[in-house]
Subunit: 387 residues, 3 copies
């Protein structure tokens, strides 16, 4: 434990454990133990130790969610999630996605922020989609900042996302409503890695296709570095607000120096097709407890676009008052638009079962992932056969 009560090696183990948790680690993780050993004592530098230009292959499965009209992407057959798995690569690397369409409808995957040929566009007008029950490979490339004509042109690093662009239409409108979306991070080598990651998608009047009190509860221990990936979809104006924590309006959410005058925010527009990400130290300067995150469009928060960011004590125990706050959150009346009204405007809330209290990060909560404190292992992504 360092002075913040944070496990000192957590960021390294994240890279290794992530794959086991159903999440694509940055490409560098493919080289497994060796890469991490080389980086011992210099966490942030570990990624830089690997060479750029690697290619990773994964398989995604687009499948109906159980007992639902929704559809999700998943890393294993029979395990679709909403949002889909958080994908991560390093600038310079390539990701080959074999998309298995286990539905009876046309669909696709279209990424933001990366490079792809028209063949991997995911847009029907480029004939780039999976027919029903068809498997197709999409290739996403990335590049670092480059100089051209004496100026610096941007690379691919950023907090991006991917989504369907073909289900029952030309722009992915129905695919998005049904849950075919996920987060995509392209990091620069050397970027500081977090202890935990949360994906928050404001999709119509839902968060990750759920409304309060069924929205994801994100859990961390005081002092952990947690990363938020925020994505907007649908038709509506949204503003993402996080209580008691803030970030800089940069690529990483951090500042370049103590005199950097980039605006600092705790509330940011999160509109269709947009995305951003940032890291905060959980409970830093404010202590542990239950903190709200929500859309600040008043009618949206009232009708269920809010959730809980639970910051536990540094040792993982519950801070005083937190359970009572969560109980209040789960019991309180979410006024405003009714579920019927929401459905009428296109959003489709997920059918949910009984709530399980503060259950930290349920296995079926794909929007939150925690590092497993296991030994680093070589990541072996399931991949069947297109080459």
């Amino acid at each position: 434990m360092d002075r913040d009560g944070r496990p000192a090696l957590s960021r390294r183990s994240m890279l290794a454990g992530a794959a086991a948790a159903g999440v694509l680690a940055p490409a560098v993780a493919a080289s497994g133990v060796a890469a991490f050993s080389a980086a011992a004592g210099a966490e942030a530098a570990s990624a830089s130790a690997a060479a750029a230009g690697q290619t990773r292959q994964i398989t995604l499965y687009a499948e109906p969610m159980p007992n639902s009209t929704l559809i999700g992407y998943g890393l294993e057959p029979g395990k679709p999630t909403i949002p889909g798995p958080l994908l991560e690569i390093y600038e310079g690397d390539t990701l080959e996605i074999e998309l298995v369409n286990n539905t009876d409808e046309r669909l696709s995957i279209h990424p933001h922020g990366v490079n792809y040929d028209t063949n991997s566009d995911g847009a029907p007008f480029n004939n780039s989609f999976n027919n029903p029950r068809e498997t197709r490979v999409y290739t996403w490339r990335t590049r670092t900042t480059y100089q051209r004509d004496g100026v610096y042109m941007p690379g691919s690093a950023g907090f991006w996302h991917y989504h369907d662009h073909a289900l029952r239409g030309d722009h992915g409108t129905i695919g998005l409503l049904k849950g075919l979306y996920g987060g995509l991070i392209v990091r620069k080598r050397g970027d500081l890695l977090p202890d935990r990651q949360y994906t928050v998608v404001f999709n119509e009047q839902t968060i990750n296709n759920k409304i309060a009190p069924d929205t994801p509860m994100f859990v961390a221990n005081q002092g952990e570095r947690v990363e938020w990936i925020c994505i907007g979809h649908g038709n509506l104006l949204h503003t993402f607000h996080l209580h008691a924590h803030r970030w800089a309006d940069t690529r990483t959410g951090m500042l370049a120096s103590a005199t950097d005058n980039t605006p600092v925010l705790d509330n940011k527009d999160l509109n269709p097709g947009g995305s951003f990400g940032f890291q905060v130290i959980a409970g830093e300067g404010v202590g542990p407890g239950a903190w709200m995150y929500h859309c600040h469009v008043q009618g949206h928060s009232d009708s269920g676009m809010s959730g809980v960011f639970l910051v536990r004590n540094p040792d993982g125990s519950m801070p005083p008052g937190a359970q009572a706050a969560i109980d209040r959150f789960q019991g309180h009346e979410h006024t405003g638009m009714t579920t019927t009204e929401m459905k009428a405007m296109g959003a489709e809330p997920v059918p949910t079962g009984p709530h399980d209290g503060i259950a930290p990060i349920a296995p079926d909560n794909p929007s939150a992932k925690k590092v497993k404190k296991s030994q680093p292992t070589t990541t072996t992504t399931p991949h069947n056969g297109h080459k």
Copy 2:
């Protein structure tokens, strides 16, 4: 007078005079004359002369507005305003707010941008609110940019705001409609102070709960440095536009150097929960006169989300044509949404009396404050008794 026709000591006197004008001066002002003397001849540096870590205490009163269904925060009993008083502190300092609830309903105060325990969250789910007629203390702390894990994490400096989070609901929706909001500035020591400050809140289809021609007229003399604090609330998309003046999209609205390529704006999204601020030199390069500020969403400006920024001559006299423009503004037909339609969608215009021409900054116009050209005095904020 300096070469711009601006009183050379105005920024210093502002700090001292502000408190008398019903506005909380930055904490450094509490040390009064001494601090300012130390800074003679180096205005911008004056703030830096004071030590960080001070604690200020103020009392706010939440009370019904006279002859209205609205509610405002005020610094004195019987004097609620909409927006509430503009609060200012320096990074590193702490503000203790004793909130006296002089209404018969539950309400609270919730800040953006600063640090607070769950106890001071202002959110009902943290049991943080004032019961009817109850007094409660909320503590807001701030911190400077700090290094963690080799990177710079943002401090609290920025143009923020505060608002109710508890009136008749869990998210402050009704409190905001009724006027329970205000601006909050956290400055870095050394930040350049303005001559005048204007708070502009786009709240549903109103500006500061008023519609044209009753929106605030902001007045300055040519060459004065004026600061705009812009805040968004409610449910709607808004874009703030100021005629003939512009700012950089940084924390302060200024650039770091002549080659800084931060975007420069004269129109910026101002959506629910968002806020920004900037300084302009009144009439710089464009001359004195009556300039419009308005929401650039066309239906919003047409229905009354517009106002006048009156730049007088350097000596305070009226420039040619300005009075005629103001007369036109006050007389012209504001088309678009009717007041009835506005009310139907939740906005509640303030009942207003007869217009008083260009009355520069009426005492009942809390969104504008002017420096009093008095001697610096020690600020003594009214404070009754919780410690």
Copy 3:
């Protein structure tokens, strides 16, 4: 041809050829061949060779569009376009616009980002407009970043726009609906000039008052540097998305260095009164082909707010699959809001004739301009008589 397959002199010829194409070149272009010769071998520096402080004069004609209820600005009588001509000046220079009102209604021109007296405000409340059939001169001045009180105040450089502020109302609402808008670029001397420029105006649920498949097709050859000027108008939330290309959120869309952490975007809010611009290398890292640009608000793209960015092969020939994609785009069903519904909410689609396939940049497509590969000539803007 340089290594990117781009004509090496295209940026220089653009400045000269632009005027012939009906576009105002930066003021420096007025000095014609001499200025450009001086910059041989150093394109980006060419602009710097000219002295600041020049005044240019142009005449704009506001006229009804043929066979339409729309109105456009044009550089020649009888040739109004929507959007109006893209105007460009260098920081420090002045633009005098003689606006000829060839309609029977009051109208005006109001710019963003530049300096003007109240007389040139374009706002009726300042009595600044053209009566029916009246000619009036508006003067726009610009200035570079300047120091005041020890800080850097922003200059005028940016991607801005101009629009009516007086037609049948006080805020230009009807003028905007009818097409009275255009792009305005203020460059810093030394800014890198593009090979091609596209103006994209999201105006209610149209792009440049057109809906798919009649939205503009923007065409470039692989490797060309193309500049997008994006402007928002009307009442609605919009987000601009470009497939397979991205930019930095700076004044120019480029980064300051390889470690600049400004966010990189491929999707940005484009709301009423807002504007931004950026340059991309056509097809860079993704190859030639037909790429979509569209509003990412799903209902908007579905109802016709989408278009094609056609990147041809470096030699100008069509890449495989591009024509098929364009055919699909022009034939496919644009679902969502019907034209009738759109009209009901104020947008007025342009009546269009038969589609002409990929017709690269039709003469009647004012939103795209291509450099003529002619010899540099002195620009002589038509100008009749007000001084």
